[in-house]
Amino acid sequence: MLVANLMAELEMDVWNRLDAVTDPELDEPITDMGFVERVEVTDAKMVRVEFRLPTYWCSPNFAFLMAFGIRQEVMSLPWVVEATVQLNDHCFNDQVNDGVNSGRSYHDIFAENCDGADLDEVVMKFLAKAFDRRQETVLLGLQGLGLAPADIVSMTLGTLRQIPFRGEEELRQLPRYLELLASQGLAKNSGDLAFPTWDGKPLETGNLSDHLARLRSTRINMEFNGALCRGLAKTRYKEVEIGPDGPTLVDFIAGHVPPREETTANS
């Protein structure tokens, strides 16, 4: 029982770490998206994580990035000695699994698969989109609270931190926005402007609505992917049965997709 409790706790530890891995294209945690399917801890030091994307065809560059992200987060836990990451049912799963578990560096693996080009450019491009999306949520939240454009563009980080947001999405995105501002060096001190552009330029009162229009178009793209990915992840491995009450959707390979392990500490 003691061992079972300890294992459950360690698994929980892993699941919590995995919340920090995001799908770069969607800017959503892979755990929220339901991509992680199994976490297994053996000997209180070895971890195995299996994940699956919504389709066999999801972009392999993002599959690679998520696999490396998973490995990095898991290895950062002090008790973990060895981590294995397995991507299932994907057109590039062999390459991804070989690469992430080879012990070779991230850069070596990508260089082989990028024809010598650098993946970082794509990574930065999607980080910029993530920034736009997080910023839009916060800006719309401020507009919703009745703040004038002049007050918004001149707002400092210190003031933003004091704003009593109530909307669920604003509360979720604000810390993520602040984190990105800090990690990218866009705003650090409480006197810094809270809403620079991704290029580090200040917003002007007259440009706020144009700026918001641009952020909206970024979000529209991300939402398209997000909605599709969530839906496809949900319906992958399901089929329709036409019964007396019309069509219903049922799992067609019972046991093919491993259920998410129970990870509560008292199980």
Binding site: D115, E239, V240, T248
Partner: protein, 341 residues
């Protein structure tokens, strides 16, 4: 034709349908199975529940099915059948021009069958374009840039080999190029859905019409920018349409962007049959209005009856030289009917 609640008859030209065979017998490998499984997940994910099909029917439906779903139960007057080969995944191709043409011959007044080619085949691709023109008199082609071909896992519209093919298309009067952007697999450093090659190709081939299916999503902003610059770039609404049911507000945002940037004359309805059927799509589309706050952000654009009529058929009719009045008279002479089974 679609009959509005107040009795008007709207001409519907469904610009994107398929007649595929993805049955296990035609699947070459696991990729063949995974490809149709992915389509099926789109179908199950975004259709209203009462419109769901069983897997076996979805993999391979009959000539009677497509005719009934589009023209008898559905409101289509005409449909453009696209060809997609995926030769590495399906023994006889996913939806070949031969099979679609043989199906369409039963009702030639209702179908336009487009061809397809792979520029990476070099000289053979050019010969094949000649063959399609001579044998099927094609007016358009469907390009799938994510198709696998040997070691290559995709190509771009502005590759030199592709330009040779487009030069020939232009010469032969094959003027409508439908482009589908699937995910690019390699190299990893590429943005998988990048649409910038459309910009180059559309600038260099101004006499061809470039219809970008699923309106460039998930790169709608890049696509809108390109379509604003190029007068010969159109947006196909396949895949965007079903969001009208599952996420209507989001559908409004997409339509507002498209109407604002691309304009009402350059948007084409497509059901993407058999992933979705046109009946519920057109019904819901006719009832739909862009929410006021979203419209206000984009200069008050709205889906008026006039705009909807253009999107549902008139815009595509122009691209395919169809005289709508004449076509209506012709179709009135051959009303839809289900063959005795």
């Amino acid at each position: 034709m679609f009959k509005t609640p107040d009795g008007r008859e709207i001409f519907v030209l469904d610009s994107h349908v398929h007649y595929w065979d993805a049955s296990p017998e035609n699947q070459t490998n696991v990729q063949g199975r995974q490809f149709i499984d992915c389509f099926y997940a789109y179908h199950t994910n975004l259709s209203p529940e009462d419109q769901l099909w069983e897997k076996a029917k979805f993999e391979k439906y009959s000539e009677e099915d497509i005719y009934r779903d589009l023209f008898v139960d559905g409101p289509d007057d005409m449909a453009i059948v696209q060809s997609t080969y995926l030769k590495e995944f399906y023994n006889n191709g996913f939806s070949s021009i031969e099979r679609s043409t043989s199906m369409a011959e039963r009702h030639p007044e209702r179908f336009i069958v487009n061809g397809s080619f792979d520029p990476r085949d070099g000289e053979k691709a050019l010969e094949y374009i000649h063959y399609m023109k001579e044998t099927f008199d094609i007016k358009g082609v469907k390009m799938y840039t994510a198709e696998w071909n040997g070691d290559s896992k995709g190509w771009a519209l502005n590759d030199p080999a592709a330009y040779k093919c487009f030069e020939l298309c232009e010469k032969l009067g094959i003027k409508n190029v439908h482009v589908h952007k699937g995910p690019t697999i390699r190299p990893l450093s590429k943005d998988a859905f990048d649409v910038h090659d459309v910009d180059h190709a559309a600038t260099d081939f101004v006499n061809l019409n470039w219809i970008i299916e699923h309106c460039g999503l998930p790169r709608l902003d890049d696509f809108c920018w390109i379509a604003t610059q190029e007068t010969n770039v159109y947006a196909g609404l396949a895949v965007a349409m079903p969001f009208i049911h599952s996420r209507p507000r989001y559908f409004g945002e997409v339509m507002a962007e498209l109407l604002w940037w691309v304009g009402e004359d350059k948007l084409l309805f497509g059901s993407d049959y058999a992933i979705w059927t046109p009946q519920w799509l057109v019904e819901q589309f006719w009832d739909y209005q862009i929410p006021e706050d979203i419209s206000a952000e984009r200069g008050g654009v709205q889906l008026t009856d006039e705009v909807k009529e253009k999107i549902l058929g008139l815009n595509a009719a122009k691209l395919y030289d169809i005289d709508v009045a004449q076509k209506r008279a012709q179709l009135a002479g051959v009303p839809v009917q289900i063959a005795a089974e």
